[in-house]
């Protein structure tokens, strides 16, 4: 009886697709919600630093003066906390993972230098030249 059951299972397994994924050949399909890695649309970022303050693992460093946004990939736990608090919604959680590596990866995004603020044109006031005072020299 047991041999019959075993035979049935072996036959079924022979004709079934493997349960595991032949990984490098067959690529992994990510779900829409998969929390893979954080991306920043740096040109929309205002470098407010709220994400840095809220990050549970301190993986983010925001430098307003240098206009840079830095993420330590190995320290990030993909909790999406920063994505939720971002006021400009420039942060997104992509559904693909970053490539594996043996070293700590630090990614820095640098925003373009801000466009110089248009200086309002002010017409230079032309003041009437004051009449030079004539100091009469007293003749001794």
């Amino acid at each position: 009886m047991a041999a019959f059951k075993l035979g049935k299972m072996i036959l079924r397994s022979l004709f079934k697709k493997p349960a595991t994924l032949m990984y490098p050949v067959v690529p992994r399909v990510w779900q829409e919600r998969t929390r893979g890695h954080i991306e920043n649309e740096i040109n929309d970022c205002i470098f407010c630093g709220i994400c840095q303050k809220k990050c549970p693992t301190n993986a983010l460093v925001v430098d307003k003066a240098k206009r840079s946004w830095t993420i330590e990939r190995m320290q990030c736990i993909q909790c999406s906390c920063c994505v939720e608090v971002c006021p400009k919604k420039c942060l997104t959680n992509e559904n693909t993972y970053t490539t594996p590596s043996t070293e700590k990866v630090v990614d820095t995004y640098v925003g373009a230098a801000p466009e110089p603020k248009p200086v309002p044109k002010v017409e230079p006031k032309i003041e009437p030249k004051a009449e030079p005072e004539v100091v009469e020299e007293k003749a001794e």
Binding site: M9, A19, Q31, R33, T34, R35, K54, C55, P56, I77, Q78, C79, S80, C81, E84, N93, N95
Partner: protein, 360 residues
Amino acid sequence: MGKRTIIPFGPQHPVLPEPVHLDLVIEDEKVVEAIPSIGFIHRGLEKLVEKKEYTELVYVIERICGICSFGHGWGYCHTVEGLMGIEIPERAEYLRTIWHELSRVHSHLLWLGLLADGFGFESLFMHCWRLRERVLDLFEKTTGGRVIFSVCKVGGVRKDIDKETLDEMVSVLRGMEKELKELTETFINDYSVKNRLVGVGYLSKEDAIELCAVGPMARASGIRQDIRLTGNGVYDKLEFEPCVETAGDCYARTLVRMREVYQSIDMIAKAVELIPDGEISVPVKGNVPKGEFMARLEQPRGEAFYYSKGADSKFLERIRVRTPTNMNIPAMVKTLQGCDLADVPMLILTIDPCISCTER
């Protein structure tokens, strides 16, 4: 009377998924006494309460354990919601219950696989984990993570599940149930499995009560104890009866967990039927007021206990988690006394130890 020797067991051992160390006092191949010691993976997560705001702390608390991570997040959120007096929407309660029961399915399937691996039934182990993979895929689809979900927050849940996905979830689980029935037959009737489990590690009902055993360990000894009966989440609406066995041995513990997998699938199906529409979270603002709050939750391994102390600021003053493995270690030591050396791995496995939970 033979000579007594001490055999160190663990923290690194092929059968142990996690580091626990036991000094086994052996006399003629029989264990006379077992002295457990833990403390190899203490991470100090409770200390982080000083540095993380209560809204971000949930991501830390979830990482106490990789298997019952959703339950830890839920237990913590429950205490903070209790402190702040927040009522969460009903839909969020249902979603939390569904995810928690899914966690139970995947935890028990993982454990059944580990048990099969423990007694040397390699192919049964692989089949259990093959089924577990589908639950992990469901988790990935609904929460975005396979192990750590980051979906529970103070005031509700972060993500909703639409009707189609909920129905798909039930159909996947029902399909899995059919395949699990074949495995159940092997677990229940196979003589090689029975040889390793029946009559091994007997824990009487009196001992289980005296040593405060919790979860499947207590239920296998005939104690009808389940925190879900006390009505957290929406368990009161799902009408279930805890799985209780009376034999008190490793076989009974396997049966309890096996039956709980089916029960959880039924509960998820029922929750999907009953789930109402509506909001999934309420906005939370302000500090956590002064005070203390305790909550209990039935994790896959048994009763877990959560405690939070507020200090009228954004940072809590103290949190404390008491995990089920912590409570089951005395019962495990009791069952180890007088057993064969070859049965020790079975006995350690059948309490379903989660040492990283216990040490935090």
